[in-house]
Structures are given as C-alpha cells and as structure tokens.
C-alpha cells in the first residue's frame, strides 16, 4: 500500500466573484521513502497542493472533492484534533522563507521543545536532548548554543537548517518541502538541498519537493509531476521527464533553461502567461501558448494518457490523434 495516495482531489476557493477551482482531478501516489518533485509556474497550484495534503488550506479555500489517504486514513474528512496528530508528527512541512517561518520572539530551543510537546508526553530535558540530536543531524556548528539563540541571531542558511531540524523532530514519514531553497543564497542552496536529500535517504522519509527549479528536481527526485493551471499535466520518472518530455508545456519548461540556449542567443521562453484561475478557457488550458495545438484542444480537456511509465495530459498523445513528435 502506498504511503500517500491522493484521489481526484479538488480544491476550491469561495471568492466574492464565485468559486475558483485551484486544483482539479489531482491523482497521484507516493511510496514510503520516495522522492517526488512538483514543478510548475507560479500560480499553478503547487503550494495549495502541499497545504491540501495536510488539509490546512486557509479560508476561504477548502477541499471540495476527492480524498487524501495517508496510510489508511482519509485526511480530507478528518476533524481538526485528529489532523493535529498527523501534522508535524507524521507529515512535516518546510517553507520557502526561513526568515519568516521561525517565530522571532521564541528561542530555537523553545520552538523545538514546543513542537515535541505537542505530540509526545516527555519531559523538557528529554525534549531538549532530542532537539539537540536533530540539530546535530542537520550539521549545525555548536548546536548547544543554538538552542538558546533567537532566529535573528542566525544566518538564512542556518535558519533553514533549523527549520529542517524541526521538521525531522518527530521522525515523520513524509516531508513536504515548499521551495525550500528559493529564499537562500545560491551557494547555500546546494548545501541545503544536499542535506535534505541525505536526511531523506538516511531516514527513509518520503519527500514531496515543490519547486520551479528543474535542476534541483533532476538531482533530488525519483519522480516528477508537472502542474499547469491547477491540473497535473505530466507525471513520471524524473529522468524520463527531463530527457524525454512529452507534454509541450514540459518541453517548453526544459527548453527555457538557460543551459539549453547557446550563449548570445535569446532564452527560449514560453510565450504568453498562464491563464488566471478565474478564467480558464474551455479545452486545454495551455492551448493558447502551445505551438502544436490542434482542433480538439479548443473544446476538450485532455485526460491523462498512460504512455509506458509516464502519464501525460495532452491530446497529441491520445490514441486517435497520435502525432509523431520530435
């Protein structure tokens, strides 16, 4: 049985202009210890997906359909008390900006001890010992002193290490990392990503890495999911997706990498921008920006087609429209 399976998940935000669907028909599974990358433009719904897995979408948003099954519990219908015993405990989350995720008025130690106390009945001394051990695991220099320091006394990279240590505190099965390195210095990014990768491997923790950095995804994850306008449009083994992208959007993403252009040439950007969630056109949401759109794209939303071990949502790959691609 997979660790996590998400079935037909739909998330809507009840805005004044009417309900806006941020996620539609999301289906995927995650095995124990598996590392999954979630890629897509800003606004594609990646972060909402991260939050919806622990059922923590802030109002006016809510899961309106589908289920999130963790082990054998459906998190989408759980009450808050049950959810609290999962959050932080079995599923942890790492956010983008470590400057913001630590409470500025509490010491590192206090925040870690508090997280432990929320889930386990242990003494303060025991909690501190666990906290210290986790700080050592994230390779923070002089962990003992860090416990009594405030977040503002630490650098960005150090804070992200602390955030990672906090996420590891209760030995979770799954860590959702929402762009964990975006706010960091380039030199630190690789270090932090490395650390996350090693720790996940060591502890056999599943990782859901939300990012727009395809390079990071290629290095860290085993499987990749590409999202566009609230839907999964392509999903499969990372290597296959990177080297043999099927969906025109994924193609565009990979071609847009600066490494894919010869120096002096313009970057291959995808023309246009993602439609806003309030006005998704009929048919394929990517149609207007797609250079290979065909007649049917205007009217029908493409379903996920299975192609060997890759799933892709594009009419070009449905059996009746099979067009040879380059």
């Amino acid at each position: 049985m997979p660790l996590l399976s998400v079935n037909n998940l739909e998330v809507q935000f009840a805005l004044r202009q009417g309900a806006v669907t941020a996620l539609r028909d999301i289906c995927f599974t995650l095995e124990r210890g598996e590392r999954l990358g979630v890629v897509g433009e800003s606004g594609a719904g990646k972060s909402v997906l991260g939050f919806s897995i622990i059922n923590l979408i802030s109002k006016p948003g809510a899961i309106t359909h589908g289920e999130v099954v963790y082990e054998d519990q459906n998190l989408a219908v759980m009450d808050n008390k049950q959810l609290r015993s999962i959050r932080g405990n079995r599923i942890a989350m790492i956010f983008q900006d470590p400057m913001m995720t630590l409470n500025p008025v509490l010491t590192i130690g206090a925040q870690m001890v508090e997280c432990l106390h929320a889930h386990r009945k242990i003494s303060k001394a025991e909690a501190r010992a666990i906290a210290l051990d986790k700080l050592k695991q994230v390779q923070i220099p002089s962990p003992e002193t860090r416990l009594d320091q405030y977040p503002h006394e630490l650098s960005g990279g150090m804070r992200q290490r602390i955030v990672i240590a906090i996420s590891l505190l209760l030995d979770p099965d799954l860590i959702i990392a929402d762009e964990p390195t975006t706010a960091l210095d380039v030199t630190i990014q690789a270090e932090i990503m490395d650390l996350i990768l090693t720790l996940c491997k060591e502890h056999n923790v599943a990782l859901m890495l939300i990012t727009h950095d395809l390079g990071v995804v290629a290095e860290v994850t085993q499987r990749t999911m590409v999202m566009y306008a609230g839907r999964i449009i392509e999903e499969g083994p990372t290597q296959e997706i990177i080297h043999n992208a099927r969906h025109p959007y994924t193609h565009g993403l990979i071609n847009a990498l600066p490494e894919m252009t010869t120096p002096g040439q313009r970057l291959n950007q995808i023309p246009g921008s993602m439609p806003s969630l309030q006005s998704i056109p009929d048919g394929c949401a990517f149609r207007a920006r797609c250079d290979r759109a065909i007649e049917i794209c205007k009217t029908q939303v493409p379903g996920l087609q299975v192609q060997q071990d890759v799933k892709v949502a594009c009419h070009l790959y449905s059996p009746e429209n099979e067009v040879p691609h380059g």
Binding site: I54, L56, K59, L83, R84, S85, I86, R87, G88, N89, A92, M93, F95, Q96, D97, M100, T101, L102, N103, P104, V105, L106, E114, C115, A118, H119, P141, S142, T145, D148, Q149, E153, V163, I166
Partner: protein, 322 residues
C-alpha cells in the same frame, strides 16, 4: 598570542551569548533612554511616586486611617512654610485634622493600586477577547467587536456612575465603603477592555498572516497554544504602550469618580477623594487640601503619558533612527 585569546575568538565565532545585562545595556531601548532627557525625568518621577506609594506606611508620620490619632482641633492648618503653619504637618492638614502628607502618601498608594489593578483586568479581558477575535475571525470576531463597539459608545464614566450609584443605593454606603476598591477596579476594568481588545485584534490580524503562524499550525500545535505562545508575544509592544496610557486613564477615571463622590470614601481617601473633600474649603482659603493632591495627580498622569509616548517611539521600528 595566548591560548586565552584564541579561545575568546573561538567563542565569538560560535556566537557565545553575552549576559542578559550586557545585552540590555547594548540595546536600542537603553540607548534611547540614555539620550532622552524627558524619559529619564519621567521615569525618575514615576519611580518616586511608586516608591512613595509602596512605602507609605513607613514614610507617613501619621496613619490617616487611625481615627484615634486625629484631632479635629488640628483641622485646616496651612503648610508649615505659611503663616500659622505647624511644624508637625509640613503640608498642612485637611478639614478633619489629618496630616496632608500622610494622607497624600496613602492616597497615591490607593490611586496607583486601583489604576494598575484595573488595567490588569482590562488587559486580561482585552487580550483574551482581542486574540480570539483576531485569530478565530469570522462570527466570533463580529460578535466580540460589536460588543466592543457598544461598550465604547457608553463613556466609561457614565457606566461607572450608573453602576456605582446603583450599588450604593441598593447595598448601602456601609458595604460600599468596604468594597470600594474592588468595585472601582471592576468597573474601570470592565468599562475599558475594548481599548485593549481592539489594539490586540489589529496586531493579531497582521501577525497571523505571517508564515511562522502557518509553520506552527503545520507542526500540529493546538490553536490556543498558537494564540498565546506564538502570536501574543509578538503583539507585546502595542500592549506595553497602551498599558502606560491606560493606567494614567484609569487613575483619572478613579479620581473623577471619587471627586463625584462615587469613588473612594473620605475615610480612605484616594487622590481624587482628597481633592473632592478639599473643594468645599477652597474658597475659604484652605487651598492646600485640594491643590497639593491635585498637583501630585497631574504629575503622575503626565509622567505616565510621557513615558508611554517615549515607549511608543522606541518600540516602533519605523521610527528607528539608530
């Protein structure tokens, strides 16, 4: 270089923490206090008032509550530097023959105590309601804030006068005299909670959008814990500022009520009731009974407001000038 220096350097590298005192002395807070003459004088005067209040039984030459020590023949003696003054009573005596200096000391004590207790009650109610309104939002927010609006549309004094007058009328002045302190604290405390609740709600609304709150929820912490342990400490600076102003306001409210005869009884005078008791004699030349406690009251309220102003400037990072 000696081994010692390397050790010190190493300690600095790993960020050894300076002692609390050292950190305080190096803080912006201390620096700003050191350079602000008004704040220093205000703090000095306020401390003097607090010490006077705390040590009233030690400092006062007479016990104004002890009726046996009062001689009616000593009434309305002017301050000792005036003609007709008595060296025993350097600030003179009131109409009942009580030593003004002792009575003022005890009165300051009562006024400050009522002010601070009332503000503690305000803060307690305001923090709970303000946090709940801001954090939970929605219907809870609407109900609590409408309650606050309604409460604020009655003036504090009006509510206090009505409540205290009804209490006095229905339970008699005897019982009222015994419970006067508690009643004043309750009335002033309850009448002014919306000030706190509104201030706190506003900062909670700003704080709860920050990511550390999301992070705390993701950790699986229960809501009350997030509210009190994570959000509340981050809203402390407005609370501190409003507290200084509110204590001053509470002291004024108490004095006004006492002046109107609804506060402290003459047998246990606060500054307000002293002013009130002397008011009848002011035209007959015994000005000191009202004027001296009046000056003390004004001084206390003024320094508290000045301290509050200074605190607001210091704690406002937008005004930080290095």
């Amino acid at each position: 270089m000696s081994d010692n220096t390397t050790k010190k350097a190493a300690k600095r590298l790993v960020g050894e923490r300076p002692s609390r005192m050292k950190r305080f002395l190096g803080s912006h807070f201390w620096h700003s206090f050191k350079t602000d003459r008004v704040a220093q004088i205000s703090f000095l005067l306020f401390s003097v008032a607090v010490i006077m209040a705390l040590c009233a039984p030690l400092l006062a030459p007479f016990n104004p509550y002890d009726l046996a020590s009062i001689d009616i023949m000593d009434s309305e003696i002017p301050p000792s530097w005036k003609e007709g003054g008595d060296s025993r009573f350097w600030l003179g005596t009131d109409a009942q023959g009580r030593d003004m200096w002792s009575t003022i000391l005890y009165g300051t004590r009562l006024s400050l105590m009522i002010g601070i207790c009332a503000v503690m009650l305000q803060a307690f109610l305001g923090i709970i309601f303000g946090l709940a309104a801001g954090y939970i939002g929605g219907r809870v927010d609407s109900v609590l804030m409408r309650m606050a609006d309604i409460q604020l549309s009655f003036s504090t004094l009006m509510v206090a006068i009505i409540v205290l007058a009804i209490f006095q009328a229905s339970f008699g002045a005897e019982l009222y005299q015994e419970l006067a302190v508690i009643m004043l604290v309750l009335v002033i405390g309850i009448a002014e909670w919306p000030q706190y609740a509104r201030t706190i709600r506003a900062s909670v609304l700003a704080e709860k959008e920050k990511e550390y709150v999301d992070a705390a929820r993701v950790m699986g912490l229960p809501s009350p814990r997030i509210m009190f342990r994570h959000i509340l400490p981050n809203t402390l600076s407005p609370i501190l500022v409003i507290s200084t102003v509110q204590v001053a306001n509470a002291i004024i409210s108490e004095a006004s009520l006492s002046f109107l005869g609804l506060g402290m009884p003459v047998s246990q005078p606060s500054l307000g009731s002293l002013i009130s008791s002397g008011f009848a004699y002011i035209l007959s030349g015994s000005w000191w009974i009202s004027v001296i406690p009046g000056i003390i009251l004004i001084a206390i309220v003024l320094v508290m407001n000045l301290l509050g102003d200074w605190l607001r400037d210091v704690l406002n990072p937008k005004l930080y000038k290095g």
